[in-house]
């Protein structure tokens, strides 16, 4: 079974700082990590490999330094890693990113199973996985919280909903995006860390992927982020504690006072 896990390098911080002029993330001085949801996808890929055999390759599109994120993925036990990187890829929206990743996967000879995290914690679009499936003309299931093989090429899945889940069956090849409920990612292993240190990570650019520069990066994007801003600080809040009937009485009194009741 050939498994490809798509990962994204994201800044590790809850307090994102934005450049007030360009409206892009300020990455200076912020540590980069594997997008946390992608770690669950990687873990699921490793578990499928353990049960079904095969190999796990991690794939990312990003700047040259994203190679470190791929190297980190290798310390969890992935077999190989490939980076898609080129100046021409810069400024890509989800469409152009998925288009480039799709070409990368085709260049790698396709895969039986492609796994992605449900979304990245920086952009939060949750679009790249499904778009990638569309470009590759593969069936996809988003938000999987459980994955079971019923036959060697048939997967049964639970797709997480707000209240409960959908039971879905899909025949491979397919693309699945996963939620964090799906597993508990393992810790890196020392032997894999040693191997990862010197492992070669191929970098494929525009020419390697035989892409036109108008199909990728900013020129290949249909959308552009024109403004990003932090949400305005919320107004004054109060936290009340006490017995339910007491609190209800208090709330009622307050609402009346505010002439809402």
């Amino acid at each position: 079974m050939k498994i490809i896990v798509c990962i994204k390098q994201v800044p590790e911080t809850q307090e994102i700082r934005l450049d007030p002029i360009t409206h892009t993330l300020q990455r200076e001085g912020v540590k980069s990590i594997i997008n946390p949801f992608d770690l669950y996808a990687l873990e699921e890929g490793l578990r499928v490999r353990e049960r079904q055999g095969g190999s796990v390759t991690v794939l990312s599109m990003g700047p040259p330094q994203a190679v470190e994120t791929l190297r980190e993925a290798l310390t969890y036990g992935a077999d190989g890693a490939v980076l898609l990187s080129d100046r021409a890829f810069a400024g890509a929206d989800t469409w152009a990113t998925a288009y480039t990743l799709a070409r990368g996967i085709s260049k790698l000879g396709g895969a039986d199973l492609i796994l992605c995290g449900k979304q990245a914690i920086d952009g939060d679009t949750a679009q790249v996985g499904p778009e990638l499936a569309a470009f590759l003309e593969l069936p996809y299931v988003a938000w999987a919280r459980k994955l079971t093989f019923v036959e060697s090429e048939v997967l049964q899945m639970e797709r997480l909903l707000d209240h409960g889940y959908d039971g879905i069956e899909v025949r491979l090849p397919a693309l699945i995006t996963v939620v964090k409920e799906i597993n508990e990612p393992r810790v890196p292993s020392f032997k894999a860390k040693l191997r990862a240190k010197s492992q070669k990570i191929p970098v494929l650019g525009l020419q390697d992927l035989e892409l036109d520069q108008n199909q990728v990066g900013l020129p290949g994007s249909f959308t552009q982020v024109v403004k990003v801003f932090p949400p305005p600080a919320r107004g004054e809040r109060e936290l009340w504690e006490g017995a339910p009937n007491e609190l209800a009485q208090r709330l009622w009194t307050r609402l009346q006072k505010l002439k809402i009741g």
Binding site: R186, V187, P188, S189, F190, K191, K193, L194, K197
Partner: protein
């Protein structure tokens, strides 16, 4: 301070710290409170290859030495000395096999210990014998191609959780200390049972129990080394493992110092944070200095042991004595700095 660690040693330290931060810290209070054995963390340590640190590569381990073992123990202990004790005790149980096992014994037991599939424990202490190993009452009597063990071991770390036990028992009482022998006993052997689990003041997530042998019959090929070599095997095992206790102490003290600094920065009294008080600063400076001195001694001894000297009993004892005393002082001061918050 920079101890000029190799890249490999730094990677090992980094990995142990990652596990300490991500897996141990979030649950340490709960484990301690509930006296719960850290099964999930043991699995994480196994997944990370960390049960293989001192096991040779030929047996599936990492083939590293005393210093690397100390680096991992220190990092884990910084988050929780209880969890770190469980991990350290498995090496204590593995050392007799590593140092004195036959090829067949090493081939059978070391790979599963290196993988962390099984835990080990070392059973020397009895109610009347611990440091006085000559006072051991547990006996092993040869019967055909088997030995029959009878007696009770006390305060055995990992008892009931481990599958592989290295046990010191008397085979010839007339010979005194030279009448002891060492054996590998498996948890599934008939006649082996576990007694009461101790309730402890600290390291409460680690399991400390009695092991009871009642006509426990084991194949004769489970004896380690020669008959009568048990005392030597026990002493050599302790020589190798004492720096590990020093590492637990350095980690514990470092953890306590960091909690103290964190608290002293946040705690405001008399209109300012208490870390600005000279009385607190003096304590923190002494704590930090003593910890660094303990660490420097520990690493120096560990490196000395890794150079394979003939005799290092004295140095190994120093690497346990000083750091553990430092840990006692530092943790007492930490409770003082946290004042009422340190006691509640």
């Amino acid at each position: 301070m920079d101890y000029l660690l190799t890249e490999e040693q730094q990677m090992l330290q980094e990995l142990a710290t990652q596990i300490a931060e991500e897996r141990i810290k979030p649950v340490r209070a709960e484990l301690d409170e509930e006296e719960r054995f850290p099964t999930e963390i043991v699995q994480d340590l196994a997944q990370a290859d960390l049960f293989g640190v001192i096991i040779p590569e030929a047996y599936g381990g990492l083939g590293l030495g005393c210093l690397e073992n100390c680096l991992v123990l220190e990092a884990l202990s910084q988050a929780c000395v209880g969890v770190a004790t469980t991990y350290a005790a498995s090496f204590l149980g593995a050392y007799p096999i590593l140092l004195f096992g036959s090829e067949a014994q090493k081939g059978q037991y070391l790979p599963e210990l290196a993988r962390g599939d099984k835990l080990a424990a070392f059973a020397l202490t009895e109610s009347q014998a611990g440091s006085d190993a000559g006072g051991i009452q547990t006996v092993a009597v040869k019967d055909g191609d088997a030995y029959v063990l009878n007696g009770t071991k006390q305060w055995i770390t990992n008892a009931g959780e481990a599958e592989t036990y290295t046990v010191i028992a008397i085979t010839d009482r007339a010979k005194g200390a030279r009448g002891a022998s060492a054996f590998i006993v498996e948890s599934s052997d008939p006649g082996l049972s576990f007694g009461k689990k101790e309730k402890k003041m600290g390291i409460r997530s680690s399991a400390t129990r009695e092991i009871i042998f009642q006509n426990c019959r084991i194949p004769a090929n489970r004896r380690l080394g020669k008959e009568g070599q048990g005392f030597i095997i026990a002493l050599k095992t302790l020589d190798y493992s004492r720096p590990g206790v020093g590492a637990l102490a350095v980690g514990l003290a470092q953890g306590a110092l960091e909690e103290s600094v964190h608290f002293a920065r946040q705690r405001h009294q008399f209109g300012t944070s208490i870390i600005s008080f000279q009385a607190i600063q003096h304590m923190l400076a002494d704590m930090a200095t003593e910890i660094e001195a303990a660490r420097a001694l520990l690493y120096a001894v560990a490196r000395y042991i890794d150079s394979q000297p003939k005799d290092f009993t004295k140095q190994s004892a120093m690497a346990k004595l000083f750091p553990t005393d430092v840990a006692m002082r530092v943790t007492t001061d930490a409770v003082q700095i946290l004042a009422g918050h340190g006691y509640m």
